[in-house]
């Protein structure tokens, strides 16, 4: 098993890793760097649970080799916000019950956050199509879509605190 040295910039931190070329980026993040918030839900690039940001764009880290991510700026769910300093999209998912089991949630939040970067005022139709690469079995998407629209300031917030 030959390895190559790869520098990965994840959540603003530079890592130098000796990796098999075939190592998938999602496994490098999870198994090598301990960033287990990025999940795996399929083997065919359908479910989107592994969605992270690569140079600001939403990508599926299960369909990228870790070596391909060299020189890129990667952000995972852990780098988006913390419990003490939530990203507005995380807050919106919490306020709108945009998650149940939580497994698809990091990918959903990352895809949704990237959407608002590209299109800050999406319609419901645009939100739904922007999330066509993320599967959720719990929520029926209703509250996910509501969360994204809320984060975009498109529905009135009734959160009392």
């Amino acid at each position: 098993m030959s390895t190559v040295n790869v520098r990965l910039n994840v959540n603003g931190v530079e890592h130098s890793l000796d990796l098999e070329p075939r190592l998938l980026l999602v496994h490098a993040l999870r198994d090598q760097l301990g960033l287990t918030g990025t999940h795996v839900g399929c083997d065919t690039s359908n479910c989107g649970a592994c969605t992270i940001h690569m140079n600001g764009e939403a990508v599926k880290s299960c369909t990228i080799l870790a070596v391909q991510a060299e020189d890129a700026e990667l952000v995972t769910i852990e780098g988006l916000g913390t419990e003490d300093n939530l990203h507005p999209m995380q807050e919106a998912f919490w306020n709108n019950h945009g998650l149940q089991c939580g497994y698809c949630t990091p990918g959903m939040i990352m895809a949704s956050a990237a959407l608002l970067t590209e299109n800050p005022n999406p319609t419901e139709h645009e939100v739904r199509h922007a999330l066509e690469g993320n599967l959720c079995r719990c929520t029926g998407y209703h509250n996910i879509v509501k969360s994204v629209l809320d984060a975009a300031g498109q529905s009135s917030s009734e959160v009392t605190a």
Partner: protein, 279 residues
């Protein structure tokens, strides 16, 4: 699911990439965005011995207008095409590929070189009469899109060649449309029909119709095109022409659609796509 082991190299020039490809032999593969190849490798339906990663090779990106043509670098991701609406049909087709994450990584060159007739761009390239530039050990050549796709997952790209750019005639003055029929928005096309049409005062000056997933290669519905070209663009004429869209096709049945159903869809979608392109 994870890929089988392979060797990996990331050359910094096109020459080095071609050399690596040649040295790697028949089991060497180019890696662009990886969104056609890696899924196959993860399911172990493909197991190349060497991957030559093109990401550091300069000059393979970007979209430029050069006179009547668009020049698109092979590593241009679908998402960039989607946002470049001035590309017309190419942009519209790219916007239907899979999902945003896949479109961020998947590239036009990778998709065309992969040669899957169920993917969306090949038929569009055929009717736009695009050409691809192939750079190999022996130099550079140009191949028309119509000659690029030879069979299922088989293209004219030789083992030592890199698809470097795509030249797409701009077809100013044409209307365009792509009707992709699938069960879910993120799915592959069950059948897709792309159309460019030039309306000259109510008469069809030119029409070109491409069919996705109707054969092992993208098809052009020539009988339908011929029936409409030169005719008045009436609903009736469009409908008549569309009835010919599936002529000479024999698409294989699969889980979601039989041969007969695919042919039916091709006819319906052709009528809708022409109408839409004129709209």
């Amino acid at each position: 699911m994870i890929p089988a082991e392979f060797e990996y190299t990331v050359p910094e020039t096109l020459e080095d990439a071609i050399r690596a490809l040649v040295d790697g032999g028949e089991d060497a593969k180019l890696l662009a965005g990886g969104h056609s190849l890696l899924p196959l490798m993860k399911l172990r339906l493909a197991a190349p011995s060497l991957l030559v990663d093109l990401r550091k090779v300069p000059g393979l990106h970007g979209i430029d207008r050069q006179n009547g043509d668009w020049r698109i670098g092979a590593l241009t991701p679908h998402r960039k095409l989607e946002f470049a609406t001035e590309l017309g049909l190419t942009s519209r087709v790219a916007a239907t590929i899979a999902d945003p994450q896949v479109r961020h990584r998947g590239t036009i060159g990778g998709s065309l070189a992969h040669g899957d007739s169920a993917s969306d761009l090949p038929a569009a390239m055929v009717i736009l009469e695009a050409e691809v530039t192939l750079q190999g050990q022996g130099g550079q050549r140009t191949v028309a899109a119509a000659d690029l796709f030879q069979d299922y997952l088989t293209t004219a790209v030789a083992e030592d060649e890199v698809l470097t750019e795509i030249r797409v005639p701009a077809l100013d003055g044409y209307g365009h449309s792509y009707h992709k029929f699938n069960r879910r928005s993120e799915d592959w096309a069950m059948v897709g029909v792309c159309v460019v049409v030039k309306d000259s005062g109510g008469t069809c000056e030119d029409v070109r119709i491409g069919l996705t997933n109707m054969a092992s290669v993208p098809l052009r519905a020539t009988a339908a095109e011929e029936a409409l070209r030169g005719q008045a663009l009436s609903a009736e004429n469009i409908a008549k022409a569309a009835e010919l869209a599936a002529d000479q096709t024999n698409p294989p049945s699969d889980l979601n659609a039989t041969t007969e159903y695919k042919q039916h869809l091709a006819r319906v979608l052709t009528r809708r796509a022409i109408t839409d392109a004129l709209g």
